[in-house]
Symmetry: D2
């Protein structure tokens, strides 16, 4: 029952892997925006399966159709309904799964919860649901661009291969030059090689996506529960296969002392700035104008071709060898999803911050 | 504007460190529960300042007054309003902070956001706000106990001192025997020693709180955004000083391969069970009946007595030496807060799951 | 930004009169329901334009396409996405309105609010938006039928023609036998005649829709704000052209005294029942098991062919003669919309009531 | 579970008639407002029981205590927690009701819903719950005053005594000069006389409260569900004893034709204005800058001293003679409650409208 995210900028999504379409409704996009549908499609293309040998062989063009909310190329303030048709859904590939619970999948828990299971391609548990997020994120990015906000996610780790430079030193402009979406060329090659090896074995591998947001204004985030990092964590942990979230120093902060972790204030070019950025751009739950930095850990995909023991509907222990198409590593295609979710959260806070003022601004409009 | 958490079981909180009281309103507590106010007070006492030398010297009895929602000792289904008066608030201690932005505090961001700042004891950014969470959590725990759910958080790491045994091997019953709330006696001593050393220097230190939930029924969590882990992450990242959240293998899963991370199904005592629990009790965003395990990282408290550079209201760079009372490490007092937030989230999902069914059950009540 | 209604059973709608499609997402439909798409289409057909001479001549087949949430004919608990394509949209008919604000329409207020206006057919202010409501209502009705709830709206008044019998005496089974949807045959003829006369003049006329709900269980409605009548009023007042809402005795109660208005309790067939039903089936905001009765007043449609003065974009006073197709009276086509909204509200409360219990029921499922 | 109202400006209320206190939490009050607690108390005094012979003899000073959200006399953007202690609660007066269901009260429905009943003074079903609304409304009024919005409710009808002049002709400044709160002195006397007669008989009488809002800016209200009139209706129908809501022409519009009901546009003092105001200041769900006018019908209070038949706990038919103190007519004390709810709704929309814009305004603040 919780297929929506956001308060002022809100996405309600629907759709299964092998149903008629996946899609959604975007509410709260400010009116008067010259929305580029081309930009939305570009983001979808970044997430699309079949882009490289690193991802599933399912072929989908993932063409978005905007059904409402636009008039003469501009947003009207009305909800933006959209759909993306499913094309290459080979439901028969999943017939052998009808009776079987795949390890570490949603199969068992969802069936227990709902009493029914759409076993074709994982149903709504499929990562195809992320399409709606990417569309909404692409809309949000266009609004955020007006305020000078940019969002850049990238591969930080694939299996045991990790970036070595701290995030501040990375040349993020390079990250889309390779299929893994890693800003360090050498590491990108290593990561791709590892993914290839794992794929050959029919196995999968985990990873970490990092994300840097620049230009986020001071003052976003709502104390005390809806802190910037809290809604960000919520959004990230709602992505398939996400296992962990941290911002700023994250778990490393646990080993630090206050005198080393505190970000000292100074004046720089007439502005309050911090000398360091252990805080990751957020203090007291509210953005402080510095770059926002966070990381999301992903588990290795549960679908593997390696033989596994499991249990079927009737409680018999059986062997499972999955045939469905899958990604050996989610990281490359998770990068645009992480960006999309970050954009949705940030715009939501930006609009909410506008509401949170004495109404003189509005009154002057009368 | 976001001082509430939960959907079916909901806490709305209010109150500042040095105002008249902190308090809240709990909605959605099922009717007919014989609520023990004593149990609530016991939880508050676990969080109360001044319990040991490891925490701030502020003396507060933190006595809860329940104002509504109870009749003849039972909950009525009506909202439970409650307050806890502030007693030992030495607002003068904070006069020297009136003009100064403390490093890594909410001072600057909140003032920029709201145009005003209640500088006395951190105002609403103070950890005294956690009192409302602990009260609501204590109510939730009593409802959850009916379903056989128990929640146990504990110190996993303080600075560089970490538990070595995996969580499955810990004897959690021991964790309340020491002031640090660590289930490993030897490590507890080391942690306490480290906190003592840090305090002496006027510094602070970070840490990690782990949490195990037992008896959570299969089927809690709402796809696709409101996954169990997503709302749990939200709740944990809304706690003061939290920097990271992970569940199951968490960030360690990034380095693993699917064949090693997948939890194989088997039948045990007539039930579907997993052989391992890398998933931390959650699959596809929904609980699978195994123990739920998650971890929260905390930064070292920002308030330290060590001299620091900073900037004042007029943009002058100044030196700051804080006098306010503070905890050298949040971990011991964060333990009951983590439990409280976990209880709130879990009960919220439990009640929501009841709603998500065909209405025959209800109809039969007519 | 508020294109959704409902909490546990929730419709998010989108779409304009002359855009690609109108549609929506239904969340919270319980899983396991054998959903009849035919029944949904039947409800849409009741609202469809061009059914009789009493309504607009726009020809739309209003064919619903369900995009998700169904598997092998049953609901899965996942969101039900749906669209209805717009076919007969003659946008050119509206070119003459581009510069002009029509009296008592949304033209001026929405343009002032959003800075843009989709003038084609009223854009999202068009009653075509009701399509999404009827689809969601048709789903809700199927769930409610399981609990024995039936909902029946009908024409009570058209212009100066009013029903004379009290609602308890009406034979509601007759109401769908005529185009006006009035259970009194004689009055139906008078109403149809009046609508015909008004249409001939190019004018429009108002009316009242009454609604009776039978079989609603005791205990629906949430004190203190979300009373049954409060959410019902909200839902009804969100329908285009609605001007008033009342339940039970409604405005007539203002002239009554307590001794005449109170519904005395008695035992009937072993159940607590009221002797009279001035309360309209709701007491203290919660249903009492008696029939629920309410009424919704509708204004005469603002679009008329009669010449009117108005003002254009540049502030010039001009004469307006509208050519767009319109209904001379909303009542006949509002009847299925009122039923749909009542169904959405009632199911929402039914599911919420299931949540509001001690969790033993759920626990026993484990 | 629905003890809150509002989205951006939000009141969460708690408390029973004979519990420790009634109170609430106000979220979303913009920061920087010089809040007058005296003004809040003044509004409470208008609602207080025991003001005149027209109301219940219960003596309560209804003194508000603000617990948070204020610093040096200004709002901080933090939640405003408040309580009002119950003083004169003679719970014993209600002992005779313990076993009996009073006609047309919440007794039966709430007990059936919750399984428990706080019978003392109606528990939370008591109109004392309105106190929280009046406090929140008094805060909202102070914010609205900045935008030049004023709200004035008044007695339009008591039993069979009705105002004769249309609302546009009333001198609303006079309405607080008499205990009934009626702007027509002659009618005020007649109303008071009728209330006196009814009280003498131990009976009660219904009535209608009208309300006019001036200065509401163009553009408030959110299509399509959250129309201005829809949330207004929701708020009004959530008041105890409310039976109907209408705005503009309301139910009278049902008998009108479009050519007579449409509000023709004209230019007046350089502004778009309507010649008439049948619309009651709202078109397409959004305010149009004209005065907003609506009416709320109230039933006669259910508590009467007249003997009535009813049923007790064990299903026996018994006679009931109520002794509790009560108002013979809710109208005089409902007037400030209607104003409060109107203020809450209007401010909520005003803040929401601020959010609904392209973020350049906010960006310029950086």
């Amino acid at each position: 029952m919780a297929n929506a995210i956001g308060k002022m900028f809100r996405l309600t999504s629907f759709g299964e892997s092998h149903g008629g379409a996946v899609g959604g409704v975007i509410e709260g996009c400010p009116p008067g925006l010259a929305l580029s549908v081309k930009e939305i499609q570009k983001e979808l293309d970044r997430r699309r399966p079949g882009q490289s040998v690193l991802s599933t062989s399912r072929q989908e063009e993932d063409k978005v159709e905007i059904l409402s909310g636009l008039f003469e190329g501009k947003t009207t303030g009305m909800p933006i309904g959209f759909i993306v048709r499913n094309r290459d859904s080979r439901s028969r590939d999943y017939d052998h799964l009808r009776e079987v619970y795949r390890p570490s999948h949603a199969d068992f828990t969802w069936e227990k919860k709902y009493g029914v299971r759409d076993y074709r391609g994982g149903g709504r548990a499929s990562a195809r649901e992320h399409i709606a997020r990417v569309v909404a994120g692409a809309v949000a990015k266009q609004v955020l661009a007006i305020s000078g906000v940019s969002i850049c996610a990238f591969a930080e780790q694939v299996g045991t291969v990790e970036l070595e430079s701290p995030w501040q030193k990375l040349d993020l402009s390079k990250k889309d030059l390779n299929a893994v979406r890693c800003p360090d060329e050498q590491k990108a090659v290593e990561m791709a090689t590892l993914i290839g090896q794992v794929r050959e074995k029919g196995d999968s591998v985990g990873g970490v996506v990092g994300c840097v947001m620049k230009g986020v204004p001071v003052g976003l985030g709502e104390p005390v529960f809806d802190r910037f990092q809290a809604r960000l964590a919520f959004a990230m942990m709602s992505i398939n296969a996400a296992k962990g979230f941290e911002y700023g120093e994250g778990f490393a902060a646990a080993a630090m002392q206050g005198s080393g972790h505190n970000d000292v204030w100074e004046m720089r070019e007439g502005k309050m700035r911090t000398l360091t950025n252990h805080s990751g751009g957020i203090q007291g739950g509210v953005t402080n104008g510095e770059d926002i930095y966070f990381r999301v850990a992903f588990k290795p995909v549960s679908t593997i071709a390696v033989k596994q023991r499991t249990v079927d509907h009737s409680g018999n222990e059986v062997e499972l060898e999955a045939h469905g198409r899958h990604d050996p590593c989610v990281v490359p295609r998770a990068v645009p999803v992480v960006e999309a979710m970050a954009a949705i959260v940030t715009l939501d806070f930006l609009l909410e911050a506008q509401a949170c003022k004495l109404p003189d601004v509005y009154a002057s409009d009368k």
